[in-house]
Amino acid sequence: MCLGYFAPPKGLLRANALLLYNNKISDVLIDFLIDTGADATMLSPQDAMRIGIDISSLDQGGEISGVGGSIETRVLKDVGLIFINPDNNKLELECHLEFCENLLVGPDGWTFGSILGRDVTNRFNMNTDIENSKFSLTRIESNPNHYEIFSVPLKR
């Protein structure tokens, strides 16, 4: 299970993950907006820069359309998203690694942050408890996309 959270004031659904790409892991957490209206997951150019990705070196990812019009994207290939939940009862970090064929990167003018789209969210049952402000994603085991779950000791 991956834990998400409700962002005030209007209860945006969000989740944090590390990025695995080119056999390297970002040491920064990415704050994703859960967007069930988006076909694809997209990394904001600000997050890409924060991770140290040279956007200009990436392949073109094609044009995507939204409420505000169309934008050109770049693409990171063969990446993994690592959702980490601390399990304080076991003093472990529970890690969920979800593999993605493509992760789009938004253009310079993009201001909406990084987005977790349906290419990833559709692999999960989303459990939204608005009354108690709890949000979690439970993996659908029959979904054919590759994922791995592992735990590591919590180092404080």
């Binding site: 962002a7 005030p8 004031p9 944090n16 695995l20 056999n23 892991i25 040491d27 920064v28 957490l29 704050d31 907006l33 967007d35 209206g37 988006a38 150019p45 600000q46 997050d47 820069m49 924060r50 939204g66 409420v67 993994g80 690592i82 980490i84 601390p86 970090l93 890690c95 690694l97 593999f99 310079d108 003018g109 201001t111 909406f112 942050g113 987005i115 791995e148 592992f150 590591v152 000791p153 919590l154 180092k155 404080r156």
Partner: protein, 91 residues
């Protein structure tokens, strides 16, 4: 790749502390969102050590400000574009 991920996380003693610091910076943003909207609406902000340490009006400025941070600050910083007051957002 999973083995590599596990090895990295196991060998990163500061990862959990960094996650907590990132969470604190994120919490600072949401707790102070209205004030930040008044002062930084329409801008990007970089929050570190539970304070706004830089703001930028466009991507070029943001890029310059981000490059001034050391690795630790960059790792734990929460960055976001601050909506203007009463701005409705539809992604």
């Amino acid at each position: 790749m999973a083995a590599r991920a596990r090895e990295y996380i196991e060998s990163s003693p500061h990862l959990y502390d960094n996650m907590k610091s990132f969470g604190a910076n994120k919490y600072y943003y949401y707790q102070n969102r209205e004030n930040l909207q008044k002062n930084y609406g329409g801008k990007f902000v970089i929050i570190s050590n539970e304070d706004v340490i830089a703001s930028a009006s466009n991507f070029e400025e943001f890029s310059r400000e981000l490059s001034k941070l050391d690795d630790k600050q960059r790792t734990i910083a929460f960055i976001t574009h601050v909506p203007r007051m009463n701005e409705l957002i539809m992604v």
